[in-house]
Amino acid sequence: MSNYILKYSRDDRVKYISHLDFMRLFHRTIRRTGMNFVFSQGFNPHPIMTVAQPLSVGVTSDCEYMKVGFDGEYSEKEIVDTINGAFPPGYKILAAKKVEGKEIDLTKLDRAVYTIELEYEGNADIDELLANDELVVMKKTKSGVKESDIRPYIYSIEKIGDENGILTLKMCIAVGSVYNLKPQSVIDAMEKYLDNFKAGFMNVHRNSMTYGNVEFL
C-alpha cells in the first residue's frame, strides 16, 4: 500500500457538487482508472481517502488536498495523468506526492486565501473594518450558532476591485480544525461593523491553503 497526497482544482462547471457527492465521484473516478484503492475493512468496505477541508457548495478552488491510499506503486506523474484522464470535466489533479507516514499532515492546514466577488451597496471600507479590535458575529459551530470574535482569524483583506457595485476582495483567513472561518462570516462582520454596508450575492474562489506560509504541494 502506498499513500499519496493529491492537490486538485475544481472550476465553475462542478462547483455545485457537495462534499459527499464528490467522495462518490472520486471513488468512481478511481474505479474507471483501473487503479486499485485500498479498501477499509468491515461490513461496508469503502475506499480509504481523506479530503483536507471540504469545500462548500458553490465555491471553486485551485488548492484542494486529499490523501488517498492505493494498493500498488504508481509514479507521481502516472497518478496525475491517469486520474485526470478519468475525471469529469471541471476537476483536475494539479500535483501528486507519494508520502510515508505523517510527512505531510493535512490536518495542519490552518489558513486559506480566497478571492470573493460581492454585490454590495454602501461603504466598503476595509481599513475601517480591520481597525476594530474585535469583530463579533454569529457563527455556526458544532454545538450550534454562537457569537464569536473572528478578528484574530482574519490575517489580511485586500480590495482588488470595486466597480459597478461589485467588490472584489482577496482575504487570508483561518481554516482547519482549530478555527474554521468562512468568507461569509467576514461579510457578516462588514454588514455589522460598517455603516450603510449591505451585501448581496457572492462568488467565492479558494486560491490557496497553507500551513502558516508553507505550501504542502
Binding site: 462547471r13 462542478v14 455545485y16 457538487i17 457537495s18 457527492d21 462518490r24 465521484l25 471513488h27 468512481r28 473516478t29 478511481i30 474505479r31 474507471r32 483501473g34 479498501f39 461490513f43 461496508n44 468496505p45 457548495v57 458553490g58 478519468a86 469529469p88 470535466p89 471541471g90 466577488e117 454585490e119 461589485i166 450575492f201 462568488n203
Partner: protein, 613 residues
Amino acid sequence: MITTKDKILSAVMKPTRYTGGELNSVIKNPSDVDVRFGFCFADTYEIAMSHLGLKILYHTLNDRPDTYCERVFAPWTDMEEEMKKHGMKLFALETGDEVTHFDMMGFTLQYELCYSNVVNMLNLADIPIRSKDRDESYPIICGGGPCAYNAEPVADIFDFFMMGEGEDVIHEVVDEYVKWKKSGKKNKRDYLEAIAEIEGVYVPSFYDVEYNEDNTVKSVTPNNPHAKPTVRKRIMKEFDTAYAPETIIVPFGEVVHDRVMLEVMRGCLRGCRFCQAGYIYRPLRERKADRLLGIADNLLSCSGFDEISLSSLSTSDFSGLKDLTDGLLKITEEKKIGLSLPSLRIDNFSLELMEKVQKVRKTGITFAPEAGTQRLRDVINKNINEEDIIKSTDLLFRGGWTNVKLYFMIGLPTETMEDVRGIADLAQKVLDVYFAIPKEERAKNINITVSTSSFVPKPFTAFQWAKQDTRDMLIEKQDELKGAIKSKRIRYNWHDNKTSYLEGVFARGDRRLCDVLIKAVENGCKFDGWGEHFKFDTWMQTFDELGIDPDFYTARERSYEEVLPWEHIDIGVTKNFLMRENEKAKQAVTTPNCRQQCAGCGVKSFGTGVCYE
C-alpha cells in the same frame, strides 16, 4: 463573474440536478446538427436519470451526426420559482439552452400522474400546449412509453406518439424530420403525413373521435388518407443483437437507481392479468449471457459504478441466468461491485446466489403474492402459491434473513372481504414459519411488512373492462385489513387511494380529459406523484368546473361491445385473447405461462421471441 445562473443555482436544493456536465453526457456543437432533440422526462432529475429508456434513446440519437439529443427534466418547485423570478425558460441540461425552438421534443410517458408535469413543462418553455396552436416555429412534440398506448387523455397536446419500442422508430421519424426541415419546413401537416405512414406512429389529429349520448366512444375514424385505421406497436425483433448503449451518464448527485442496469430481457411470459407491462411488452425476448457480460463489463468500466442490477420483469424466467450470474459474480467479486437481483423467485438456486452476492449484509426480501387467497391469485393468474411462500420464507429465515416485505393489491376484480383478511392470514403464516424454527437456527428480530396498493385497471389487460373500487370501498378494505392483523411484528403500509383514483381516471380516459388536464394545471396542479404537491381537491373541482364526471372512467364495468378509447391501437395481443382471459378470471381458472403452453394471445405474429423457442 457573477451570473444569473449562479444566483439561481445558489438558491435551490440539489443544484447539480440542473448543471449538466456529468461524465459521459454528450457535448456537441448545436450549429453542427440538423436536429436539436429534447428528451423530456416529466419528473425530477433523480427519477428521470433512473429510466432505462432514456439511456438507450439518448445515446442512439446522439450516435447520429445530424442530431443533438439533450435531456430536459421537470424542475422542482423551488427551481421553477427561481426560473420565473429571473425570466428563465425551460432549458436543456447539456447546453443550458432554452428549448422553446428546439426541433423536436420527445416525452416518455411512464405513468399517468406525470401528465400535469408535461403541461407544466410546456408552459415553462413558453410553448403552446395544444398541438393545433403550435406552428412550424415550435418543436414537434412527440411521446412514447407505456402510457402512450392509451394516449387519448393527452392527444390534443402531442403531435404524434410512437407505439412500442423506440430504438428503430425514433430514427425513422428523425430521418423524416431532416427531410422536411431541408425542404423548408413549410407545413407541419406535411411532416405528420409523412410519418403517419411509418409503422408504430400515431398522429392523433388524423383521427376523429365520435361519442355516443352516454359519453362512451362511438367510433374512431381516420380523417387523413395517410393515417392507418389501426396503429401497430413496434418491437425489436432481434433483441439479442439490438442496440445497447456503450456508455452511460454518471450523475453527480444520488439518483434513484444509482447503478448500471443490465437489460437481460424484454417482455414477460407469466401473463398476470392485471399487469399492463406483461401484455404490452410481449413477446418475451432474451439476450444471450455472453453479450450481457460484455455490456456489463463495458458499462462498469466507463462509469465506475460500484453496483449493477439486472433489469427484467421476471429474472427467474431468464434462461441464461446461471451463465450470466456466474460470469457477473466473477466481475463483481474481483472489482468489489454490488450485484442486485430484483424480480427473482426464491428457491435453492436463487438463495445460494443471494448468499454469494451479499456475503455480509442480509437486506430485506420482497415477495409479491398480490392477493391474499389462492382463489384470488388464480383470478389474477399470479402463479405463486402459499406453499411457495412458506417454503421460501423458511429457507430465508434459516439463512439469516429477518426482513420480509409482502406486496399485495386491494380492489382486484371479484375480491371479497375474505380475500382481504387472507392477506393478514398469509402474513401471520409467514410469521409462524419463523417461530417454528428453533431459536438457535434463526436470526433475531423478525420484521414483516405488508404493503397494499390499490388496483387500477389498465388498458390492454384482461381487466381493461373492470370496475375500479371506489375510494370508500378501498378505505373499508384497508380498515378490515388493519383490524385483521393481530401481531405487532407485522407492519401494515397502504397506498393513498386518491392518487390511485386519479391514475384510474387517466389510465382509461378519453380525449375529453385533455381540457381537464390543461385546466387543472392552470389551477395549480403539478407533481401529482409527489404527496406534498398532489392537490386532489383542485383536481375534483376542475372536473366539476368542466362538467366531466371522473367516476365515468372508473366506477363503470364496460361491456365487450363498447368501443374502448384505445381500440385503434394494436399491441399484437388480441382483444379476443383479453376477453378469454377476463372470462377465465371470473372462474378463477389459470393460464399456463408461455413456455408451458402457448395461450394464443396473438403476438406470435411478430415472428420472434418465446413463441418460437
